[in-house]
Structures are given as C-alpha cells and as structure tokens.
C-alpha cells in the first residue's frame, strides 16, 4: 500500500459520506416523493444540495473504481467502512442527532472490523504475477 492508495481509500469514505449527507439534506427540503409521482425526482435535481450530492457521488464512483482496479472487493468494502462513522458524525453536526451508547458500540465494532483487514494483504496472491507475488503482496500492490 502506497500513500497514494491510502489517499484513494480516504477519498472513497469522504466523498461517499459527504455525497449522502448532501443528497439527504437536499431531499429533505424537496419533500417526500411518492412512487406514483416518480417524475418529480427529476425536479429534485434543480436543488443545489441534490446537485452537489450527485457531483460528490460521481467522484465517489471514480475513486471506488480506481480502488477496485488494484484491490480485492473483500478488502475495499471493510477498509472503507469508516465512511459509516463519518456519515454518523456529519448527520450529528447537520441534523443534531444524539450518538446513543448503542451507536458508540456500532462505531467500535466497525473500527475493529477495519483493523482486521488493515493488517492483511489488499489483493489475492493469485491475482499478482508470479514473479512479483513474494515482494508485493505484503504491500498490497500489483
């Protein structure tokens, strides 16, 4: 794992969480949309928060694809699950929600889960060219 790859993983979490918060804030001001009037969803795009959320989530998708080009899916998903904690923190700031003891326990479990993969390889050895596997697998590079 190079610093650049850590930066990509961090970007996935930040862009994903900020995108979700932005979309959520926008949709709250748009109001509820029923399934019978699904075309109203297109009008929601005019909301600046929704538009900002879409831009952030496009960035999220680009960084997610980049990470999947050099790491396993079963590495990327847990490794970026800090994003859920970031999302809880941002919701607290923007929506003034309380962080209950149950949620702190959830945050601790996710942190332990991230710790499990963070110490392991990011790519299955079979996916690495034979000659390079011994030296690069521990670092997670391809």
């Amino acid at each position: 794992m190079t610093p650049r790859k850590y930066l990509v993983l961090a970007s996935i979490m930040v862009l994903g969480a900020c995108g979700d918060v932005s979309l959520s804030r926008g949709m709250k001001s748009v109001g509820s949309v029923s399934l019978h009037q699904w075309t109203h969803l297109f009008a929601a795009i005019a909301n600046p928060w929704v538009l900002c959320g879409i831009v952030l989530l496009v960035g999220f998708m680009a960084t997610y694809l980049t990470a999947l080009s050099w790491a396993d899916l079963t590495f990327v998903l847990p490794a970026t699950s800090f994003g859920y904690i970031l999302l809880a923190g941002l919701s607290k700031v923007f929506l003034h929600e309380n962080v209950t003891p149950k949620r702190w326990l959830g945050i601790m479990l996710i942190t332990v889960g991230v710790g499990f993969v963070a110490t392991g390889p990011s790519l299955t050895p079979d996916h690495v060219p034979e000659s390079k596997s011994k030296t690069t697998v521990a670092g997670g590079g391809r």
């Binding site: 079963t74 959830g106 991230v114 993969v117």
Partner: protein, 125 residues
C-alpha cells in the same frame, strides 16, 4: 414485519452484490488505473472504463438495487431497510467474491465482514 418487505430487502442485497461483483470483475480486466494512465493517458482510461460492457451491466444492477431500495422504503422504515440490506450485502459480497472472483477470503476478512455488518446494524438502529 411483512414478508414482501423481507423479499425486497433480499432482492436489494442480491442486486447490489451482482452489481459489485460485475464492477470488480470489469476493473480487474481493465487493470490498475494508475499504471494505465501513466502508459496511455487519462482520456484512454476514461474511454476504457466507459466502454466496458461488464462495468455498464454492473451499473445497471446498481440502479436496479437503488429502485428496489426506494420500493422497500415505501413499505418499511429506513431504520430497518438501511441497516438490514447494508449488512446483508456485506456478507453476500464476501461469499460471492470468494465464489465468482476467486478472492482469498481468509479469517481476517470474514471477521472484518462480520464486525462491520454488526456495527452497521447498531449504528443505524
């Protein structure tokens, strides 16, 4: 808790898993994007990504999962549908990645998947 809500949650998790597996497979076929950009430039990277049939099919499944989420949300609370589908997707992704992508899901990754899935349920409850 109605049966059709659970069916929607399971269908949602399956669609999202199929989407993730297809997208991962496409990105592994395309190869390391940093390397590719260094060799052929950023426009080549964009055209390779956008013309991948597997990737586009994966995005179609992601879109289906999104519409299933909207449907499930019209039947049940977000506090149930969100964490239930997210943690189910974590587990089904680990199983599918092992079967279809031949990823080596070792003890560490199983433990990480279980802890994160449980944590998401608690966080969103």
């Amino acid at each position: 808790m109605m049966l059709h809500t659970w069916i929607a949650i399971v269908v949602l998790a399956l669609e999202s898993t199929v989407g993730d597996i297809l997208i991962t497979r496409a990105m592994k076929q395309i190869g390391d994007l940093h390397e590719l950009r260094r060799r052929a430039g950023v426009f080549h990277v964009i055209s390779r990504v956008l013309t991948s049939g597997t990737l586009l099919l994966g995005i179609v499944f992601m879109a289906l999962a999104f519409f299933s989420l909207l449907l499930a949300l019209s039947w049940a609370d977000v506090s149930l549908v969100g964490p239930a589908s997210a943690s189910l997707t974590f587990v089904s992704n680990a199983v599918a990645a092992r079967i279809f992508l031949h990823e080596r899901v070792d003890h560490r990754r199983w433990a990480a998947t279980a802890f994160v899935a449980a944590g998401v349920v608690l966080l969103a409850s």
